[in-house]
Amino acid sequence: MIHCRSRRVNFFACFVLWILPGVANATPANRQGLLQYLGRFRSERLDSCAVCHLRAKPDGAESLDEFPHNAFGDRLRLIGEEAAENGPELTIQERLARTAEEDSDGDGVSNLRELLAGTSPGSAKDKPVAAESERIEKLLAEFAEYSERYQWRPFKPVVRPDVPDVKLTAWTRNPIDRFVAAQHEARGLSPQLSAAPEILLRRVYLDLIGLSPTADEVRTFAAAFETNPQAYDEVVDRLLDDPAYGERWGRHWMDVWRYSDWAGYRDALRDSQRHIWHWRDWIIESLNDDKPYDRMLVEMMAADELVPEDTDAIRATGYLARHYYANRDQWMDNVVKHTTQGFLGITVGCAKCHDHMFDPITQREYYSMRAIFERYNVRTDRVPGVLDTMKAGIPRAYDNALTTNTWFLEAGDERRPVKDEPIPAGVPTSLGGVFAVQQVSLPRLAAKPDRRDFVRQDLLAEAETTSANAKDSTAKQAADSKVAVLRAQFEIEDLEDTGGEGSDEWIAKAKDLVKLQRESAFLDAQVKVKATEAAVSKSTEDIAKAKADEDKASETKAKTSLTTAKKNVDAAKKSLAAAQKAVDADVTTKYESRNQSIYLDKSNGRRLAFARWVTAKENPLTARVAVNHIWLRHFGQGIVPTPNEFGGNGREPTHPALLDWLAAEFTDQGWSMKKLHKLIVMSTTYRMSSRVDTANSTIDPDNRFLWKMPTRRMEGELVRDNLLHISGRLDRTMGGADIDNKLAQKSVRRSVYLRHAHEKLVEFVQIFDGPSVSECYMRETSVKPHQALALANSPLTVEGSRALVAVLHKKTDGRPEQFIEEAYLTILGRQPLPEEAALCRNFLGGDSTRPTDAGRCEKLITVLFNHNDFVAIR
């Protein structure tokens, strides 16, 4: 039940608190500090104000004066103030540690002993009874050990921890294993042995490329495994180079970055902007190129500011063209909320209505972060070969104003903006780092994308085609005149863009253009007159015909048409006269500009500054969160179990030191995801068997400390992809427009290319816990009869079985034993156990001298597609 929806745990605490009490209270951060300091040693009695205050309840108190500290609270305050004067501030935990051995209330029992006993260290009247002393000393010793644990400080920059020494050095291949083994040893767990080679091979194939190995690949690897120590290493390298890697991991990141296809409602930005699939292709290509993670984040948030003319990179800003609600406030809320959850693992969204209850983020900082994004919007730029942006184009972000217009909303209520002063862009100060905004000047073609050469060529080509298809000489003349106008417009645009407006050359060109435009208008008017006259003739003929046929209805209709046509002729003739008049008039320079979108030639640079702040090595969260996401998708469980919540509302990491070490390694290796994958899959930890061991499961029933490899289940996309792949039907074509989700049973493309939008989901994938469009930081794994029916009855299975049986029957000449072995290797990636082979043999019937009936074989294939080992990743 760890899943996609783990976020609910986090959010929940956020949306509760839209009204705050009017009383002074021990600040949640201080209380949280106390609880974190004591951890599991906190006594139930301590969940009260009386630890630090004279009274147990702050009823009615408006300030500290009305709710004064006791001796202990005073001491904590004092030591904090002293430290702040002389140097860095001390956290509550640090203050508690420094005063642990003191006796603030002078009752003869030290502060820490009182905290552990559950009595107040600030009240001499409240102290443990003598009989308790033995228990307290024992607690003290346990607490000392607990305090020496690795200090997990997700909001402080990563410091690479030392790799621990462990006893079982022979088991460890790389530092990951030493961190994992240290936990094993501390908890009395013994790691599982290595998985069998074919199990490992299938695991790493499915993990890295999402497709299972073929029977021959299994055979080759199993043979090489015995003789070539590098065999596994070589497989891993090959898989990381396979373009299917980008498709497999692309889908993972699309969950985190909440990819949604366009929902398909005219030109509405609904779920996302039309043609958003360009962003999906950018994700897949970038992963395959091993584009550094930090670079990917920067491009997604600000490629238009960083590389304004790099169309390929600008596809990345599709990340910002991702939206569901029609309301700008909600749009901004979602951008802030998911950018911080996805990249930083903090729920800044909680601070929309009040200061964050558990993390050091103020409500004002929430709006500062919103201000980073406030001025961006989304447009569609043309692509070569297609002028109609409804048909094709690149959806992308751009800034449409240079002012600041973010307002603080009282209690997060959109109807209550505080319009005294706009909130400037900024980041939470508690996370440190440098946020330096610099306005960006955009090159000419970024602001005027329709002046790009290919757009002009496409416009000319369109006009030339019209000319070539012209029905008569007038029409041809009119079309040619349009080409001339376009050429002249391009020339004058270039002249103006290089500062030539008003020059003699410009005047001459402008006059030429005006002449051309008048001529063109005249020719158009001539064409129009011809067309309207033709309509008159047509209607006249229709009337005659209807009369002859005695068809009254048609006659009436034609007569009406004739009246309209005659009016049109008159209008066209008037236009022609006007156009003629214009041609004869004095030539001016007042030409008509081309109809095209012109954007600001500057961008705020706020998003770029933010992206750089996020991806700075000093940012405490970015690398940790990224590494945790990757780990989660290799092991089915994160080191921090709540991948979108590293703050006070999240859960404690199982291996905090390992996470820090990996984060340091990740950034030191240039944020290379492929290097990180390799490090992980080469570890002994990853190569363990997934089999259960009773002694271990008694100590750690949920395998939190990885004494075995967790068994996972294929995501819905993988179930579908492998039905296609194994049966030899998969079309490996990459990229392109999304495929209608209703075609999921017919299409033979990978599932990542199927439409995935709020109301347009692939049912087959959703049955296997497919991702939510609005948010999915972690997938859920359920087992339901619906999955059995989907796998047993779907056209994908039926057709896949039919296709595969033809191949395997031929390959094995229908000999039953060989057929069974081949089917097991092909579908499940392993040999059948003797018992399994016997069951299958019995099912196939017949005898071994003759080929088995293909119909029975086909059924066996379907059965194996329904085997648990097909959907399980062992």
């Binding site: 949306f15 009490p21 290595s194 259960v692 009869p785 619906h786 039926v798 156990l833 399994e836 059965v863």
Partner: protein
């Protein structure tokens, strides 16, 4: 074929394999080889309680539970817990009533909330009068609000508990209502999952635990509200559509030439092969669940469309549930389906009403009068119809109907500064609320427990939500304290106490 390992035998020790094998086969409910292929499916009506290792602990009073849940928070004050004092003091502050000290005692307010520091919530003090009238019904004279007249007509069969409380003042309480745990503690087995685990199925052709209607949204528990957590996915609720044509996706094979006998044989082989492979993974709960899911899926292809097809129900019955009216049709169909499922031996049928994709339709912070009266209209006749239908068929004794919501609503009107709809609704109220039950061996026509004069705190016979679980389990013959999994510590508050006073 060099080097291929015939099995993944490097993993665990051989000596353990026999034990593992036995354990595994026990866990999946049946033997492996030597069974005729067709016999791997149980016949109707053969109980399988042994499969989970838990035969009933006590003598069972009831066989099935129909658990109806209103998403968002039903106002106890306007359903089954009348408080004339609210009309008397309408518009006054709670502080100006004689009950102020008791009701507003901070300690008392915080007492039940888990982590009160994380759950700060304003106490709205301006008393809102009752938004509907009440009248007495039946021989027992049970007071029922005018929004629930049909349920009122069942008064002599109802058992109302007015003294429930819970630990969460936000909609995470939807999960709490089903598990006893706060949402921030994560997922735990729900009451339905415990029933499923404890009893197994009375009908191998249908899931033992079925969910109808859209469950809680992501904010408030989602699939966890019918989940099984560490019991394993085998015991989680199975969602079905109340639609005879498409109760389940892919309910027919795309191969239209495949006969049912052929498919039976294929599903049989799937089960055998999974069991054979599973010997290497004796504790794999997902595998065990998958084996069961195939057996179930095969049967469900024919049983579920039949259950959801109301053709055989008389017009009179359909009208009883309100299927002939647009307001009641949707929920009436769920209630009728629930009866049909209970008749067929499904143990726990969980019905959701009021899904909105967020907190839930019942969550009436504003305009409670319009919202609640409209929602009540959708459910009142269907639930009453269900109780009457069960009763006339002689099924009410063995079927326990439970109707509830994650919490009640505040006696004070919710103030929303600067908004025109301020003070037209009631806020979340975890300190006291009601549940309504019928049948299943409970007393009839009774009220148990009480809230204080203002309907604020549960005052007499206070019951935490797990007391409801314990009572439901008890009626089914299960002792909540004997439901425990080695290595999974249950807290005192998880078990709950049986409400012995309400048992007949």
């Amino acid at each position: 074929m060099h080097g291929i390992h015939k099995s993944q035998s490097r993993g665990s020790a051989r000596s353990a394999s026999e034990k593992s094998r036995r354990t595994f086969l026990g866990d999946t409910g049946m033997g492996l080889t030597g069974l005729a292929l067709s016999s791997i499916f149980f016949k109707d009506g053969v109980a399988q309680a042994a499969s989970s290792g838990n035969s009933p602990h006590l003598e069972a009073q009831a066989k099935s539970v129909i658990w109806i849940f209103f998403i968002g928070g039903l106002s106890h004050l306007e359903s089954f817990d009348p408080k004339p004092a609210l009309n008397k003091y309408a518009g006054k502050s709670i502080e100006d009533t004689p009950f102020a000290a008791d009701v507003l005692d901070k300690d008392k307010i915080n007492e039940n909330l888990l982590d009160p520091s994380k759950q700060t919530r304003e106490v709205f003090k301006a008393i809102m009068p009752l938004q509907t009238g009440y009248r007495r019904h039946g021989d027992c004279g049970l007071e029922v609000s005018d929004w629930f007249p049909h349920m009122g007509s069942c008064a002599d069969d109802l058992c109302v508990v007015r003294s429930m409380w819970t630990i969460d003042n936000n909609h995470g309480a939807q999960l709490t209502y089903h598990t006893g745990r706060k949402i921030s503690e994560g997922a735990f087995p729900t009451v339905g999952a415990w029933v499923s685990y404890g009893l197994g199925s009375a009908n191998k052709n249908l899931p033992e635990f079925v969910v109808l209607g859209n469950p809680s949204a992501d904010c408030c528990g989602a699939a966890w509200t019918h989940g099984s957590s560490y019991l394993g996915p085998k015991y989680a609720g199975v969602r079905l559509n109340v639609d005879a044509k498409q109760p389940l996706s892919f309910v027919r094979s795309a191969n239209d030439k495949l006969t049912i006998e052929e498919q039976r044989e294929m599903f049989g082989l799937v089960g055998q092969l999974n069991r054979a492979a599973g010997i290497q993974y004796p504790d794999d709960k997902e595998l065990q669940a998958r084996i069961r899911s195939y057996e179930l899926a095969f049967q469900m292809q024919s049983t579920v469309p039949e259950v959801m097809d109301f053709e055989s129900e008389t017009k009179d019955t359909q009208q009883l549930y309100g299927l002939d009216q647009s307001a009641t049709k949707a929920f009436g169909a769920k209630c009728l389906a629930a009866r049909r499922l209970a008749e067929r031996g499904v143990r726990f049928i969980q019905l959701f009403h009021g899904y909105t994709g967020s907190a839930g339709a019942w969550d009436s912070h504003i305009g409670i009068k319009a919202r609640h009266s409209n929602l009540a209209m959708q459910v009142d006749q269907p639930i009453a119809g269900l109780i009457k239908d069960l009763k006339r068929r002689g099924l009410l004794d063995e079927t326990l109907v439970v109707v509830g919501s994650e919490f009640g609503r505040t006696p004070g009107a919710e103030v929303r500064n600067g908004r025109s709809d301020s003070a037209t609704g009631r806020d979340h109220h975890p300190h006291g609320f009601n549940v309504i039950m019928a049948g299943g061996g409970l007393k009839r026509g009774i009220v148990h427990g009480a809230t204080d004069e203002l309907g604020f705190h549960a005052a007499e016979n206070r019951h935490y939500v797990t007391d409801l679980h314990a009572t439901v389990l008890h009626q089914l013959g299960l002792d909540t304290r004997r439901l425990e999994i080695p290595g999974r510590k249950r807290l005192e508050r998880d078990f709950g106490e049986v409400m012995h006073d309400i048992i007949a």
